[in-house]
């Protein structure tokens, strides 16, 4: 993965930036999608990446920083190879999300918000992911995993690289 501290898109990625910017009446509309692209390319959104993206939009780095810090899906620090986000909102709470979080912290040896020492998994708790019919549930990278039990959580963790 390219160095997040010296971010620069490839020619292909820059074409994608221009395509995204052209979709909106004002190219600023493409800021969230381009930040997502930056995060995918560089692993997280560093201050340097914010400045780089600001340049692509001819806007101030302060504006980009304001946006990055507002949304939960932009990471300002490196994460593990996998991000496990356990829902702890009401429906999942009713069906035992607390014990799922406790199981994960024990099994991974980290607290919520931390990354395992081997850089494999970052553990988070999040607000409602709107899959309450599968409560308790969590998101593992792009996937939703529901009807969780400690055994199921173990199987999911075993499947992660």
């Amino acid at each position: 993965m390219p160095d997040a501290r010296r971010p620069e898109f490839t020619a292909e990625q820059l074409n994608e930036v221009r395509r995204l910017q052209a979709l909106y009446p004002d190219k600023q509309g493409a800021l969230l999608p381009v930040l997502r692209l930056a995060q995918e390319a560089f692993g997280y959104v560093s201050l340097e990446a914010e400045e780089y993206v600001a340049g692509l939009f001819e806007m101030s780095p302060a504006h980009v920083h304001e946006v990055v810090t507002f949304y939960t899906l932009f990471f300002q620090q490196p994460t593990g190879r996998h991000v496990v986000s356990v829902c702890h909102n009401l429906s999942c709470h009713l069906l035992g999300s607390k014990s799922i979080v406790e199981h994960l912290t024990r099994r991974l040896g980290v607290e919520v918000g931390e990354t395992t020492a081997d850089g494999r998994v970052t553990l988070l708790t999040v607000e409602c992911l709107c899959a309450c019919e599968q409560a308790p549930m969590m998101q593992v990278d792009d996937r939703y995993e529901g009807l969780l039990t400690p055994e199921k959580v173990d199987r999911i963790l075993d499947g992660l690289s």
Partner: protein, 416 residues
Amino acid sequence: MAEKIFTRNFDRPNSHTLGVYRETGGYSALPKAFQMEPTAITEEVKKSNLRGLGGAAFPTGTKWSFIPKGGTAPKYLVINADEGEPGTFKDRFLLERDPHALIEGMIIAARAIDSHVGFVYIRGEYVRPWEIFSGAVKEAYDAGLLGRSIQGSGFDFDIVVHRGAGAYICGEETGLLSSLEGRKGWPKIKPPFPAIKGAFGQPTIVNNVETIAAVPHIINRGAEWFAGLGTKTQGGTRLYSVSGHVVKPGVVEAPVSVTLRSLIYDHCGGIRDGRRLKAVVPGGSSAPILTAEEIDVSMDADGLKAAGTMIGSAGVIVMDETVSIPEALMVVARFYAHESCGQCTPCRESTGWIYKMAHRIVEGKGRKEDLDTILDVAKRGAGTTICAFYDGAVGPYVSYIEKFREEFEALIPRDA
């Protein structure tokens, strides 16, 4: 068995594809809509008594009629697929299982309001719904159902799929517009309403996924049919997301006049493990809670309003007798404290204070005055902020404490 509209294809294999959608009559409303004058489409939707199914229950046709007629300035249709109200998941089902109903509805709505670009704002965490919906949009383009002169009608319409980045407040329509414009999702002061000055400063209609998915059916089968399915003031069936301690959680389609009791016991199999019902949140976490004795209510917007709560997003969260209401309040208060966007002082400060108080009560460290302080802080702030977020938080703060006060008091040490 009541008629199924939204869910009619949910169990068919490949219901998300154009082929299956067409086999069951999909895109047959479109030629009809192209034969209708735009104002006639709006009138038909008005007569159907379709009301917004995202939360506010505003009459859809009336909303459309606020768009200024004529002029050369662009108008935008924005779909709110930023589903985030705790306890709600029906838009996820629609995006994954019936995406073409949304696309067809968007084309018809766009014709009604003279818009040629529609944005679909999908919450960032919804990766699979985004993939499936984007696939459906591509299919529609390839089949000439989107783009230039759709089906030779001379009507142009493009869809841009936009992904959010994690923020509940972007489900509030003006917060959503701020986010779509590449900013943090701060709600905007109204007026001007989006219909006058919305996305990128232009007249804009923001509608929920399910609301627009209803439109092809209304055009196909007529406003009277749709209105006849519901109550005097709200037409149709709708999707209820039911979760918590029921035997069969899931998305239930039922007429808007269904009772809460019927949803829980007839549609979802009653309470798990033979336990008793304690309380229900009827319309997403912002809706004031109902006790087990209060479930003989009609689940339409006005029925729940009369019962002192709200239908909101129709997310029904069922709690059995084992649930600690103070703990539930702490969970909900944590959510509002986390999601307050920070723009208005009463909301930014009160959501934090109330979470702290709810937390210490659950920890057994509450103070005698805490309950009255929460009620006081909650009620003072209501109605003082730019958007409805804080009013939504006040719903649970006040109702949980007022209806289950003894349970809270039991946790507060006597000498505190």
